[in-house]
Amino acid sequence: MTLNRRRFLGTTLAITATGLAAPMVRAMDGRPNVVVIGGGAGGATAARYIAKDSDGAVNVTLVEPTRTYYTCFFSNLYLGGFKEMGELGHSYGSLAQAGINVVHDWAVGVDRDAKTVSLAGGGSLPYDKLILSPGIDFVEGSVEGWSLAAQNAMPHSYKAGSQTELLKAQIEAMPEGGVFAMVAPPNPYRCPPGPYERVSMVAHYLKANNPTAKIIVADPKGKFSKQSLFQEGWLKHYPGMVDWIGEDFGGGNVSVDPEAMTVTIDGEETKVDVCNVIPGQKAGRIAELAGVTDGNWAPVNPTDMSSKADPDIYVLGDASAQGDMPKSGFSANSQAKVCANAVRGALTGSKVFPAKYSNTCWSLIDANDGVKVGATYEPTEEKIASVDSFISQTGETAELRKATYEESEGWYAGITADMFG
């Protein structure tokens, strides 16, 4: 971690300096400034839509430390061997070409009175409207015995990239008949079906390469997203391999020892070969630094995703507390468009249309066995509320499941084009 960060700062200092020059100069040209922090499904979409639809009338700056964005969505498919990591990487070049100032740096502070964002590289960005889409950070101490310092021994792999590659390498190195353990997170967390799709993908790999291996899941929850679909799939494709220990059986009473590589569930210690700890989660740190969080998340107004603490700040995606929408890339993308419409309206007087939100999450259980869940949402007085929903059914035909998987690939192509152009 230290090494990576040092190397990163070394290579990006020059870029940061040049990247900063542009917005500082343009701030004086009379155009309003929008700063977007975080270049994922929420931030990239918001930046792109504001720039695209305002036709140069708004100066948009996107602050994102990484140069290549690896999508968290579909990263489980990499673990299962269905995708290469390279297929999940997207550069910010197209956004820069579309007229967005892409600044590869860390945002380290927000001065809400002066309306500026300070950067790790030393610069400062003025804003008229600030959009925060920082994703998640982990709640310290949420899993006894685990901390970020242990993320190499026991990876979380819940931010895609090197952590995902590490977990895959560890799974591949498991001894014959070894044990893969997962500590699942408490609600609310990013991508509700994610841990269980991951279990499916790990099982898919092990079935082909290490069929006597076992998977243990310690879960503080009593039930989980698409549970009947996943459990049906595990029984069908991976009989006897997956042991899910929910709340009723002490799944929440868990501690780990990263040095000894043991997991203790409800008092019973097990030696494991791989342990994927997905800790409890909270809004990305910049939301906290900006002072717009209440507890772990940042409350927003359901009509436009503006912060309840500051009308000139908007919070998108996982970091926001908005009501019924799950924390997903699809949700963040959907929220970003509502926000972009509102921000553009406020800055340029363009027409603001009523908010509509939607979400669909696809999961892969085994090759060509895809399932999905989705809902539509609208703002009410107190929250973004679900108005209609659907979910795949157990016992669906193989043809339908295959079509659902192919549809998910289409969605991936669609949403990444929608984010990056």
Binding site: S334, K372, E407, G410, W411, A417, D418
Partner: protein
């Protein structure tokens, strides 16, 4: 994607042919008679097999030259590789003058001049593709006769600016540039076909759960706005 290729390959044909968009789909019974001209080489229907030409079951939405187990000419393979697919409009153009589209093939048929014959034939063949009501999801072949929509709804003039805003919900899955990998393209549809298709989802006459949900909360004005926008998104 498909439309773009179509535009590259057969612009001249389209001008002459008058595209047989499904609003103009013909009479399948009459098309059965027209098919007599094709029977020497092509089979269609239950148990159909490849003969001199490939069988024509499941033709709609199929990429040209892509049927497994049939040996195509180079010319057809190239056509398929360019992304050319069989739909009402492409079949119409092809039937009018097959050699203009793919020369040097075993298709010795000189072409069908009568536009009505072609439309009837296309309507007949369409019945042998799986679940033809759903095929239009890949292209503008939805017809008013598929699912009756109140003429007053069809007559609503949509606001393309509102449609542009609403379209952002669609482009999370459907690619704005018309790419149709895994999920159908929805750009450049004739407005009426778009409206008919969306109301068919809204009324649950078409059975895709995501689309039923998305269309279900759209009002008539909103569907008209989307149709206006997607008819010409640029």
């Amino acid at each position: 994607m498909r439309l773009r290729n179509l535009a590259l390959v057969v612009p001249a044909l389209l001008m002459g042919a008058g595209i047989a968009f499904s609003a103009e789909l013909g009479d399948a019974d009459a098309g059965k008679q027209v098919f007599q001209k094709c029977k020497g080489c092509h089979e269609v229907g239950k148990g159909a097999e490849n003969r001199i030409g490939p069988h024509l079951n499941g033709l709609f939405g199929r990429r040209a030259g892509s049927l497994e187990g049939y040996r195509y000419s180079k010319s057809f393979e190239r056509l398929g590789a360019s992304g050319y697919e069989w739909h009402a409009d492409t079949l119409d153009a092809f039937l009018e003058n097959p050699r203009a589209l793919a020369s040097g093939t075993r298709m010795s048929f000189r072409g069908m001049e009568d536009a009505e014959d072609r439309q009837n034939l296309v309507a007949y063949l369409r019945g042998f593709s799986d679940n033809p009501a759903n095929i239009p999801e890949a292209d503008p072949t939805a017809t008013a006769s598929d699912h009756d929509v109140d003429p007053e709804i069809l007559a609503i003039v949509g606001d393309p600016e509102y449609g542009a805003y609403l379209s952002s919900e669609c482009t999370t899955c459907h690619q704005a540039d018309g790419g149709d990998h895994g999920i159908p393209s929805i750009v450049f549809w004739p407005k009426q076909d778009f409206v008919v298709a969306m109301h068919a989802y809204k009324n649950k006459q078409r059975n895709h759960p995501v689309m039923q949900m998305v269309a279900g909360r759209l009002g008539d004005e909103e569907i008209a706005a989307l149709a206006a926008y997607f008819a010409n998104p640029e």
